[in-house]
């Protein structure tokens, strides 16, 4: 298992290099001179040229890319923000906890509500609850999350005055953004839980568990849910990527000072090192979540764990399997 985790971590490295290269290319070939952006329209040619040399912008493409990567690996330095002249890393790290809090709250909310409603819908198939939950799920995945956010502001901030429409410093301010970001994922998780549960609860071992006289809750949670969880975990992992995209919009709608808002503000003023850094940070976070999801599979499904164990002795494993069949 440990070998598998190490292998996956090593596989992440070339992917992240690839991401850095693509993002670097995109920004490099974007028209406009960063030195001119930094110094403004009134700057003379001499000072622009000096700054270009200072920033290493006069060097060939691959040298610039090599220096960029070297600074990230050796010093954790993603460059300097054109607007604030501060370190990109510092600015991102300052905002990271806010974005992470929003993402974790949203995924937590989506997972909790999605799995619970999914289980109830599956165990009471075709009931009123199931129909309402299905309609909610279908509507939830179809709503653009920025529109959901605006509608929530109109209803809960403007008309009812229950929740504030901006900020993220107090827990009460977390409610609307978390619902906005998590709604589509709640619907996806609910649909996946319902369909996996429906598949699993028709299996013979569920009938056996019931025939043994086990309580319905034990049958559902211990026997059915655990086996239905694998595709649900996949959906949760995939949702996390969508959530990072959604967080960008939600942060902009609710004026939350996170990485998403920082990136949009940076794009608007062509602050490209910040955009590069933001994309790389988010890609790193996304890759780590995907890795965690893969590891989680093994904890949920002992069959997967045993597969990794067997990889050390494949010949023995196949022999015993054949032997069993012959017997």
């Amino acid at each position: 298992m440990l070998r598998y985790i190490m292998k996956r971590i090593l596989m992440m490295i070339p992917v992240l290099f690839g991401v850095s290269f693509i993002v670097f290319c995109m920004i490099y070939f974007t028209p406009g001179d960063p030195a001119e952006y930094m110094l403004g329209m009134d700057a003379n040619e001499q000072s622009v040229a000096t700054l270009r040399t200072e920033l290493g912008l006069d060097k060939p493409f691959f040298v610039q890319y090599f220096n960029y990567i070297k600074n990230i690996i050796l010093h954790g330095d993603f460059g300097i923000s054109y607007t604030t002249r501060r370190s990109v890393t510092q600015e991102i790290v300052e905002r990271l906890p806010t974005t992470l809090t929003l993402a974790v709250l949203s995924i937590g909310l989506a997972t909790m509500i999605g799995i619970i409603t999914g289980i109830i819908a599956a165990t009471r198939q075709y009931s009123i609850f199931d129909n309402i939950a299905t309609i909610f799920a279908l509507t939830g995945v179809s709503m653009p999350n920025f529109w959901t956010g605006l509608m929530l502001i109109i209803v809960f901030s403007v008309y009812l005055g229950i929740f504030p429409s901006s900020g993220f410093s107090r827990p009460i301010q977390w409610v609307l953004p978390s619902i906005t970001v998590g709604l589509a994922s709640t619907a996806n998780i609910m649909r996946q839980t319902r369909s996996s549960m429906l598949e699993v609860i028709r299996q013979d071992y569920i009938n056996t568990a019931r025939a043994k006289g086990q309580k319905e809750s034990t049958v559902i949670f211990r026997h059915a849910l655990r086996n239905a969880l694998i595709p649900v975990v996949t959906v949760i992992g995939i949702s996390f990527g969508g959530m990072l995209g959604g967080a960008i919009l939600a942060e902009s709608i609710f004026s939350i000072p996170g990485i998403g808002k920082l990136m949009i503000d940076s794009i608007n003023v062509k602050n490209y090192p910040m955009v590069q850094g933001g994309v790389l940070f988010i890609a790193l976070g996304f890759s780590i979540v995907n890795l965690l999801v893969d590891i989680l599979y093994a904890f949920i499904d002992p069959r997967i764990k045993s597969q990794y164990r067997r990889t050390h002795r494949p010949a023995v494993a196949s022999q015993s399997a054949n032997g069993t069949r012959r017997a």
Partner: protein
């Protein structure tokens, strides 16, 4: 299912015997079978109906819309929905209903073109990776892995930030984010059919790679491509609207649905209707496409065919 596979195989082989005569049989067979299954699914029919209705309204906006796309009436600003203005009016006194209809043309066109663009590139990359395998496969799939490491919305934002706003750039930005999905589906489908006898038969009579892929392999991988196409149109519309909303996509005064929401945003505290209806339009078309996509997935799934 057996009947359908038989038709596909016969069509594949018949192609060598008497040319085109058998080909329509396969096409009609697959379409009929899909329609037969789809008809049983009420939700999918609701989705299809919704898509047809919206597309019809948007295409014939010139005849349906009561006002012009930019007709302003500064004396009738921010009017609530009424008989004269079904969805009310905006900050320039423009009729929101008419703008939603005209704006649908932009939103649907972006959705369709992005999906078609990503489908072509995705099929090309997936076919090369799946058919030739080996080094081609490794290089293409590592590239796909890299693209998949960036959340699609973030990728679209980065691309459009580099290219600049505008409809064409939005189509490219949104389309690029969906290429990995198609490439993976096509690659996996090709892996599952390329060793079949009919491919070997085609090769043995001297068909070249392009002909084998285009005429014999891809038609047998159509099911997942069609389902993904439906879903990717929905995703494109959503992502394009999101880009326009944050000011990076289609720019106002174009009535693209996301751009309309972006322009209406400062007034939401006082006038609820200015953002409600363009948002509902986005929701309705995506709802329809999702229902149809789900229905098609079931209708084309051989395990569910009876």
């Amino acid at each position: 299912m057996k009947r359908n596979m038989a038709q596909i195989d016969i069509a594949g082989l018949a192609d060598f015997d008497d040319g085109e005569s058998q080909v329509p049989v396969r096409k009609i067979g697959l379409a009929r079978e899909t329609w037969k299954n789809l008809k049983k699914n009420r939700l999918a029919l609701v989705g299809l109906g919704l898509i047809i209705l919206i597309t019809f309204a948007v295409v014939f906006a010139d005849f349906i819309a009561p006002y012009g796309i930019d007709d302003q009436d500064l004396l009738a600003r921010f009017q609530s929905p009424s008989k004269e203005h079904l969805f009310g009016t905006d900050n320039f006194g423009r009729d929101i209903f008419s703008r939603v209809l005209y704006g649908g043309r932009v939103s649907l066109a972006i959705g369709l073109f992005s999906a078609v663009f990503s489908m072509f590139v995705g099929i090309l990359l997936g076919s090369i990776a799946g058919f030739y395998a080996g080094r081609f496969d490794s290089v293409i799939m590592r590239f796909i892995d890299v693209m998949m490491a960036i959340p699609s919305m973030l990728l679209a934002i980065s691309i459009v930030a580099a290219l600049g706003p505008g409809i064409t750039n939005v189509v490219i930005a949104v389309g690029i984010g969906m290429i990995p999905g198609y490439a993976r589906i096509v690659r996996a489908s090709i892996f599952s059919v390329k060793e079949q006898e009919y491919v070997e038969a085609a090769r043995s009579i001297g068909a070249n790679d392009l002909r084998i892929i285009a005429r014999h392999i891809l038609p047998n991988c159509l099911a997942p491509i069609i389902v993904n196409m439906t879903m990717s149109v929905a995703r494109s519309i959503l992502e394009a609207a999101s880009l326009s909303f944050i000011g990076l996509g289609v720019q106002p005064p174009s009535p693209e649905w996301g751009a309309m929401l972006s322009a209406a945003r400062p007034y939401i505290r006082d006038y609820w209707h200015v953002i409600t209806f363009p948002g509902l339009a986005i929701m309705a078309i995506i709802f329809g496409l999702n229902l149809l996509g789900d229905g098609l997935r079931d209708a084309l799934d051989p395990r569910l065919k009876r």
